[in-house]
């Protein structure tokens, strides 16, 4: 029986190969296939000598294995390098600029989806086979299949353009100022006691997070429902009933907690779904986050930035699954690592 600390350490170490694998994949695929950041940025008018010089500066004239080793060495030092285009800004700065937007969006969407999922899932599981249950099952299937851009467009069109209820694009209105502390506008405006900013940021957040949240909620509805049903069929629930424990207590204190374990596991995996969905949401809502950024940089073959972003994504996913596992280990006493 290994202690929790050792387990966490193991998990942290395990993320290394994962990041490494993805990084290598992206590194080689990107370089083997045509497309060159130097040409992409100066392409139209520069002379071949100029291009060669730039390639040299960026180290792109070295043999591939050399570039790879250099890059890995750099990553090991915790440095993501600098962008290869435009301002050659440090990749970490670029990410730091955009990530809070994505984080804010994903957190809100996540909250929306989990709330919808829990409520509908628990409701459906207490009434299996009824019309309401079938309806919610249908909802979960349709919700997940709603193509994010389509749903986004419909919401923009109805709530934004026709009814003028909510703003449709961007993170805040131009005239409102929010001082950056964390880059999460909601949090920052609260920290600076800026109520106007908070309300404004919230209004801008609503449509994108509802779009993303609703689409992902289908997964949770289904999952919560099925794992609740699973748990409700278990012997210990019957045993609790046989002991005369009130039904509400059984449902909330025992069944939900047990059903939450598979849901939790799923949340870790779902996080990557959330990130993927965020790309489409960001594109639809002009959200200045990581997704739109990555798309832009892929087009320009900004090797370091794309690699850095992928590494960052991988670390993020790994970290979230680590957190999930730790919570998991806390909730479930059977996990003794």
């Amino acid at each position: 029986m290994v202690s929790l600390r050792v387990y966490i350490l193991t998990r942290v170490l395990l993320t290394i190969p994962m990041v490494f694998i993805l990084l290598s994949l992206v590194f080689f695929v990107m370089r083997i296939l045509p497309g060159d950041p130097v040409i992409a940025i100066v392409g139209m008018k520069a002379s071949p000598e100029h291009i060669e010089r730039l390639r040299h500066e960026l180290g792109l004239d070295k043999p591939l294995w050399r570039q790879y080793i250099d890059y890995i060495a750099m990553i090991m030092r915790g440095d993501l390098g600098r962008s290869m285009i435009w301002g050659k800004r440090p990749v970490s700065t670029e990410i730091w600029d955009r990530f809070p937007a994505t984080l804010e969006l994903t957190i809100c969407a996540f909250t929306v989806s989990v709330l919808i999922g829990l409520v509908t899932g628990v409701f459906a599981s207490t009434k299996p086979g009824t019309k309401a249950d079938v309806g919610l099952r249908l909802f979960s299937i349709v919700a997940y299949s709603l193509f994010i851009p389509l749903l986004g467009m419909l919401l923009q069109f109805t709530l934004g353009v026709k009814l003028k209820l909510l703003p449709v694009a961007g993170r805040k209105s131009p005239l409102v100022q929010i001082d950056r502390i964390t880059g999460l506008y909601l949090l920052d405006s609260l920290l600076t006691l800026n109520l106007v900013g908070f309300v404004d940021a919230l209004r801008y957040l609503l449509l994108p997070s509802i779009t993303l949240g609703v689409v992902l909620s289908g997964v949770y509805t289904r999952l919560v429902r099925s794992s609740m049903l699973e748990v409700l069929r278990e012997d210990f629930i019957r045993a609790l009933r046989a002991r005369g424990i009130p039904e509400g207590q059984i449902l909330l204190r025992h069944a939900l907690k047990n059903a939450f374990i598979p849901v939790l596991t799923m949340m870790g995996l779902q996080f990557s779904l959330l990130l993927a969905g965020a790309i489409l949401t960001e594109t639809t809502f002009s959200w200045p986050g990581m997704g739109t950024f990555l798309l832009e940089r892929i087009e320009y073959r900004d090797y370091t930035t794309v690699q850095g972003t992928i590494v960052f994504y991988a670390l993020l996913v790994a970290m979230v699954s680590l957190i999930v596992d730790i919570i998991y280990a806390y909730i479930d006493p059977r996990i003794r690592y």
Partner: protein
Amino acid sequence: MRLIDPLARAIRRYWRVKRVDLALTLTGAIIVAWIIAMAALAPVVAPYDPYVSVDDVLLPPSREHLMGTDNLGRDVFSRILYGSRTVMAVVLASTMLSMGVGTLVGLVSGYFGGLVDRVLSLVMDSIYAFPGLILAIAVAAMLGPGVSNTVVSISIVYIPTYFRMIRGQVLSVKSQLYVEAATALGAPHKVIMLKYILPNVIPVLPVVFSMNVADAVLTEAGLSFLGLGVPAPTPDWGFDLRNGQRNLLAGYWWGSTFPGFMIVLLAVGFSLLGEGLNELISPERR
């Protein structure tokens, strides 16, 4: 008769116990079948050539153009019909590819175990944990647009799904007594894999497959929507949605709404099928 009879019996049994699931499955199957028929019959049914302009641009739906015309004067209805071919071709090809590779590798990896299995699992888990669409975007952008490239990028995303599923199943089947019995009989590895493990693993595939196809439909649409999928002017729902979206706010809703609706419909069809099958296949509780 030999086939129909058990089928009818199965349906009757399910009708008794799992009415809802059966209804879901059938609805899904009908939607999917309908779109497949659309794809198959597109050349016969489509009133116009989907590639060329046949009328004025941006005409609203009318008797001549059931779903109006797009910004190049092409018939949207015809493009929807032909678009189903693109989606079906790309999505089925890529999921089949993932299924083939994932199943094979998962089977071998899970059966033999050892270092290769560890490494493969690590690689597959890494890909699996990574956001699928982002991976597809990265690969598709690097490979460049094109049908086969799209197929490859989508399939890479889903190989781990099959790998993990199959490997997990193989591990559980491998520990079953009947596999041990087969080993004790002296059956060679190949025979054990093909006669004892594979047949017991395969039943999960249809469920995973249709769930996965539903997902792939959305991924394909996402890629096309971002301009990384099948290149124009091939009719493609995701692309047409994007294309039509440009004119949506000007009131030309038909150019994007129809393709968008079709994407959702197809994804729903496959999800219903998958969800229903999943419930039908899962053993009845006693």
